[in-house]
Every structure is written in structure tokens, then in C-alpha cells.
Subunit: 270 residues, 2 copies
Amino acid sequence: MEPRCSETGPPFEDDAVAGQAGMWVATRGRFADSRRKRLRRVARPLQWAVEMSEPTPIARPPRFDHGFRRQLELLFRWRRDVRRFRTDPVDTALVDTLIGLAALAPSVGNSQPWRFVKVDDPARRDEVRRNFQACNRDALADYAGERARLYADLKLSGLDRAPVHLAVFADQDTGIGGGLGRRTMPETLAYSVVGAVNTLWLAARAFDIGVGWVSIVDPERIRTILDLPEGWALVAYLCLGHPEEDHLDPELERYGWQRRIDVADVIVHR
Amino acid sequence: MEPRCSETGPPFEDDAVAGQAGMWVATRGRFADSRRKRLRRVARPLQWAVEMSEPTPIARPPRFDHGFRRQLELLFRWRRDVRRFRTDPVDTALVDTLIGLAALAPSVGNSQPWRFVKVDDPARRDEVRRNFQACNRDALADYAGERARLYADLKLSGLDRAPVHLAVFADQDTGIGGGLGRRTMPETLAYSVVGAVNTLWLAARAFDIGVGWVSIVDPERIRTILDLPEGWALVAYLCLGHPEEDHLDPELERYGWQRRIDVADVIVHR
């Protein structure tokens, strides 16, 4: 395989974006000049958290080794849907770092339809919590007997204590990406946002930050509470914070709602 | 934080699943006994690829360090939607490892709705390719002038050469998870499958395997070609293989279709 990159390039080392200099170098091509300008503009607001501010050498394709793959496996295994948070704040720069990493997710036609809404206003947070409580009461009414008792005991959101509320939307009206790839499967626009959410989730766990995804809300009501454009569809309402505890098993398994199934049972040959 | 796990536990070291012994240990709880049985049953078919077969020490919550976070950032940055594959095969055990890792993704109500379809039959692959070609011709007709010329030149799938075709479906009729979390946002079932796809994608890149997501197909036609139940909705038709080249920038950016946008422009405060 012919190497596609070089190690020479503009010296950005004095820059918080130094890590991205490598990106410019490795992707030199028809947009090199404009990309250089753009990167300076794009990368500053990311404000990588302190420990990410050194240059990351990304000019050459990385070769991931056995040790990294093992760690990655642990990351997948220990990522949890967290509902029990400590109330101490999460560094804003770290949240921005996580959002910046999330935006590296793949998207259909490179449409980048993710929109990240930081919900800090106490009144809006209160309305979101009330919407969750109402939806959760309705959901409980769907169950009976032992299942209802079990459901009522589950803790299904960390909205009460999580220091960070982050709502993630798909901008369904975006022209970015020119509609490529969406003609036959328009749902891939929202799927792209899910990819960003999952990327953020994994990155957060690597920084010891827990993420919980609250789906027991009325998505249209959340959009209204947050005063956002009609074309924005809620994909995930996320709670972020320092988790009270670490677990290897899903909370819904631990509390007897639903066990893990055998992956061999969901593989089909054709 | 009180540690929730211990290092003692059943000695599974003689087992291909040794790594999962730790899971049993760390999650001892009300299901410990049944879980032990279940794990033996679940884990065997995963057949971790050779280098994953040693025990991974997962009895204690991992503490991810700076070095790992840097590597993870590189993984996010160098994961690409790959359309240019070498034709040499991918080890079947590795594909199963990737599927096993994908099944560690979060899912709404722990519903685990992902269904992985390995498409090996040449006739079916041919039909899928023909469906892609027809859909791609239709899509091209949506563009005019320079944009049409640009679109026509893009390589939008690796279906022609990728050694592995993996179709991933959401089982919309599954009873697993008891409907929890899906009442207000039923789309989270498919979103859970997207999370598995993204997990597989990242894991694959860590093993130097490229993944390409083909959305320019008729999902219902693909389900029919593959003779699958009506309740299964196609989420992603994936090509897997050894990539011909590594890149840091998306192919659609490199060939002038759509650049990356400034993440600061998609963050909103409320």
C-alpha cells in the first residue's frame, strides 16, 4: 500500500489545534489551502480539554496494536447507560471535546446533521423532567402485575442529578450533503446522528464520564420546550456526569428486567 | 466510590471465554448462578479471533489513561466509509469477533434488536449489487450539471470487491426488552441497531478492516432478496474487507462533494 501522507506541513505547534495540523498534512489534496484556513477556524472552538491540547501525531495512518484492541474491548464492555450521577459539574471544555469527537462520526452524504443543544436553563430542565415523569407514568400503565412492580422500581433516568443535559437533534432540513444516500433510506439522516451519540458515549466513558440516554420523553414536546426549529427531530436526550458507580452489566439486566441474549442466535447466513 | 467488584471467581482460564469470566465476577448479583451458565453458552460461539483468545482482565472497572484516549481519538479520526477494498478474504473468526463486540452496544430496554445477516450466496450478492445500481441511477437523475457530473464520478459502494457482505436488520417484532423506552420514541429500536453498527465499524478499524455502509438500496427489496421476516427492517448493508488505502478525510470531502462543517456552528445553548 502506497503511503498517502507525509510528515511535513505547516507548523501549528503553537496552536491549540496542533493535533489537527496532521490532518491537514495527511489529507493534502485539492482543498489543501482552503482547508488550512478552515481548520484554524473550526478547531479553536473545540477547546480540547487540557490533556488533549498537545499535538496528536496523526500524519500517518495509525497501526492499532493488541494492547489497544484489548482496551477498546474493555471500553465497549464497561460503557453503560448511566442513571446514577454525582452532582459535581463536568468541565465545559471536556463537554466540548466530547462533542468535537462525536462530530467525527460518519454521516450519510457527509451531511453532518447533528445539532447539539446544551440545556442549562433550570426552568427548561424542569419542564423536561416533568415531561419524562408524565411519559413514564403512561408507560407504567402498559404493564401489569409483577412486570409493573418491576418497572415502577427501575430508575430510568438521571435527569434529577446529572450536571449536564445535552439534547441531540437531527436537522432534517439540512442541505449539507446534497441529499446523497438519502433517497432510498431517508432515515439514515437520523441514523447519522445516532452514530455521533454513540461516539460521544464511548469517548465520555474513556474520560470517566457517564452518559444516559432518556427516550421516555415526547420528542416534539422537548423540541418545543427548547424552542428549536420545526425541522429538528430529537434523536437523544442525554444526561452526562460523573457516575456514582461502575458496572459491567446493563442496569436493566442487574435489576431483572431483561437479560443479554446469545449473539449466536442473531446471526443468519444467506 | 465503593468498588463493586472482586477479583475472585470461577476459573475459566482453560476456556476460550476466559475473558468473560471477569464479567461474571464483576457483576455478581441476583442472577450470578444463571448468568454463569448462560455465559458459557453465550460466549463460545463468539470465537474471538486468535489474538483475543487470552483472558482480558475485566474484573475491575478499567481506568483509561491519556495514551488510550489519544489512540481512541486516532481511531475516530481514521475510521472511514471505505469503498475501495482488496479482494483477499477476511478471517471468519474475526468477523464473528466484530459481531460479538457490536452486540455490546447499548439498546433501548436492553432489547438487543440487531440481526446480522452474512450474505455469501453469489446470486443474492448479485441481486443486491443490481439493486444498488438501479437505485444509484435513479439518484443520479436527481442532480443536474456539474453536481451530476460529480455524482457520477463518485464511488459510492464497495459491493463489487468487498469479500464480506453483512446486512444488519432491526427486528421490529421482538418482544425482548418488553417495549421499555419505546412507547414515546419507537424509532429507538432501529437506533439501537445503528449503535451496534457503529461499534462494529470502530472495532473493525482497530483490526485494520474497512467498513462501508451502503444506503443506496431499496431496504424492502433487500429484505426480500435475503428472504427474511417481514418484521425485519434493514438498517445497514455493510461491506467489509481490507481497505486499499487509509485516509483521514472522508471520501466525499476528498472528491469535492461535501466538506466538513464547523462543529461550533452546530452547538446551541438553551
